[in-house]
């Protein structure tokens, strides 16, 4: 098994005819992902390197059997594109687009929840299940198949940790980037629940950063519901309050959302927190070896 994406994934890319959409969509296909369709309004009937393009997601579902959608369309149109996928009966929507207004995401979040659709992102690198499927922009060469599930707010930081695990001879069941925006479709706890129930996952690495309280809520969730060991890393101890650190959601508001508070909350629930990406990878390797 694996989570979010796998051998059963049939991918439709919204924005496949765009520069980035085609680059990453075809890269995902080269990795082995079953890319069945692209969607661009008014370009139905065309193809991108042999992949059929439809006008609507509904056609991609009905005619090509798509069950997972990747959204690569520009920020101001992205929420409408996610909504279209939700309404078309897609099971999983992965939104890569950065810079979607939060007031667009609020109703879209509830639309997905109420329809029972799994949403990942926006402003995320996507999800990778090594050896099975890659949906998004994660460079798969730094990850190997294995039993560590990774869930992260950050892309490059995850690549750094994944590469260190790979060099230590370890691999991953899945890597899920949940995104760095204030409103994301899936929080840490949603993904922790999937890893807890995934027989292939033996250990979970959680990579958080300043802003919001998703890490604190994850700590409570872990204490109550997660039996597998969790190792965490938090970025942003040196971040000043009130400044947005790259990601729209990475901001300390007043005295809340600090890295210290997150580290303390996790440690209070017996989650080990590494001081650097390297130490985090090392703790994960040692913990896994001791199982």
């Amino acid at each position: 098994m694996s989570i979010i994406v796998g051998t059963e994934t049939k991918l439709v890319v919204s924005g496949l005819t765009g520069r980035e959409g085609s680059f990453h969509g075809l890269r995902n296909r080269d990795y082995g992902t079953d890319l069945v369709a692209g969607v661009t309004p008014k370009k139905g009937g065309q193809d991108v390197d042999g992949v059929p393009v439809f006008d609507t997601v509904r056609e991609a579902v009905e005619e090509a059997g798509a069950n997972t959608s990747m959204v690569f369309v520009p920020a101001r149109f992205a929420a409408a594109s996610i909504n279209e996928a939700i309404d078309a009966g897609i099971g999983t929507v992965i939104a890569i687009t950065e810079g979607i207004p939060v007031h667009d995401m609020l109703p879209t979040y509830w639309r997905a929840r109420e329809a029972g659709v799994r949403m990942i992102g926006p402003n995320c690198p996507g999800a990778l299940s090594p050896g099975k499927a890659n949906v998004g922009i994660i460079p798969a060469q730094f990850f190997a198949p294995g039993s560590i599930g990774v869930v992260s707010k950050s892309g490059t930081l995850t690549y750094q940790i994944g590469n260190e695990l790979k060099q230590a001879g370890l691999g991953n069941s899945s890597i899920v980037g949940i995104g760095g925006d204030p409103i994301v479709g899936s929080d840490f706890i949603d993904i922790l629940e999937l890893y807890e129930n995934d027989p292939e996952t033996e250990l979970i690495v959680l990579v958080g950063e300043i802003g919001g309280d998703a890490e604190e809520r994850a700590a409570d969730y872990i204490a109550e519901h997660v039996t597998k060991p969790v190792v965490a890393y938090i970025a942003g101890f040196t971040a000043p309050p009130g400044k947005q650190m790259g990601h729209a959601g990475a901001i300390i508001s007043g005295s809340s959302g600090t890295a210290e508070a997150k580290k303390e909350a996790l440690e209070a629930k017996n989650v080990q927190v590494g001081r650097s990406p390297s130490e985090t990878a090392r703790i994960a390797a040692e913990t896994l070896a001791a199982l």
């Binding site: 920020a75 101001r76 810079g99 207004p101 939060v102 007031h103 667009d104 609020l106 109703p107 509830w110 690198p125 922009i137 994660i138 460079p139 060469q141 730094f142 992260s152 950050s154 892309g155 490059t156 930081l157 995850t158 690549y159 750094q160 590469n163 760095g180 204030p182 409103i183 990579v207 950063e209 300043i210 802003g211 919001g212 309280d213 998703a214 809520r217 890393y233 970025a235 942003g236 101890f237 040196t238 971040a239 000043p240 309050p241 009130g242 400044k243 947005q244 650190m245 790259g246 990601h247 729209a248 959601g249 990475a250 007043g254 005295s255 890295a259 001081r275 650097s276 990406p277 390297s278």
Partner: protein, 385 residues
Amino acid sequence: MDLLEYQGKQLFARSGVAVPEGEPADTVEGATAAAERIGFPCVVKAQVLIGGRGKAGGIKVARDAGEARAHADAILGMDIRGPRGEGPFRVHQVWVEQASEIDVEYYASIILDRSAKKPLVILSRMGGMNVEEIAETDPDALVRRHVHPRDGLSLDAARSIAVDAGIDEDVVEGVAGILVKLYAAFNDNDATLIEVNPLIVTADRRVVALDAKVTIDGAALFRHEELAAIEDPPEDPQERLAKEKGLTYVKLDGNVGILGNGAGLCMSTLDVVANAGGRPANFLDAGGGSKADAIVDALEVITSDPKVTAVLFNIFGGITRCDEVAKGIIEAYRRVDMDVPLVVRLDGTNSEEGLAMLAEANLDGLHKAETMLGAAEMVVGLANG
């Protein structure tokens, strides 16, 4: 994007929320003339993006034109620090408004609750003080109510919030009406925060917003031309230059310049440098897929900070190709006067090609490091040595 008090009040006024009559001014003459038009007594208020203005002497009541002139003269150009030592913030503008006769002070806000994925309305009968203080001293005095984004805030729901908060009976209707209008302002302007502290009841029992703190979602400015137009360029010279060049840069107070690719890795780099005993000078996320030109711009911005004594480039190439980064570094050495040492750690996509290019270029003061930790220790040694 944070709005100044007067910009927030103008936004409130457009949504039908009562605010005192006033005018902004950026000169002593302008402020005095504004005071004469508005009448006396009036209040001269420093316009800076920080709380604690009153305590810092940035808010003064004027009873005549002479006092208005003296207050504007004292306040314009003054530096104000925040309650946690933030700043200093230089006062470039004042807001001159009609003095209000205050009978009661309440607190009202609408924030985006990231966990609940809903706007959260907060109302309290204890205004004038900071909301954390209210929560500590009298948590029952704070009524917190989530609003489902699909339903919005009805007048009935707003009335029940006002009743539960113990608002004076005769102004429940007025406060509820203002909550509904503030919620509309929150939605219509893509705000992530609206705070009115205090929301006052005047001697003649009118409900008026006496202060305004508003944050607008920067990602939504494309559909708010009038708000985008009032966004001031950053005051810090490096932050201003970075913005012009389209770079994500935050100034810090140390001496180790830092560039990373990706927000998370860059924050992590700052932390690892701090753990190694260094003080980061900045956060700079070169972003995914950084091209050579962006690297040149980044190095120019980082080294324009006179406090910087050494620079660290920490790159883990995913989409970013390390040979592109190396090309940018070599180009930057041609175009920027590099008088501080540069530590480079290149790993990931095309790192071998990138490192070979750097070796061949044989640049003065460039040091290569294998790992993130090794790079941090090396740059701290160079910065402090």
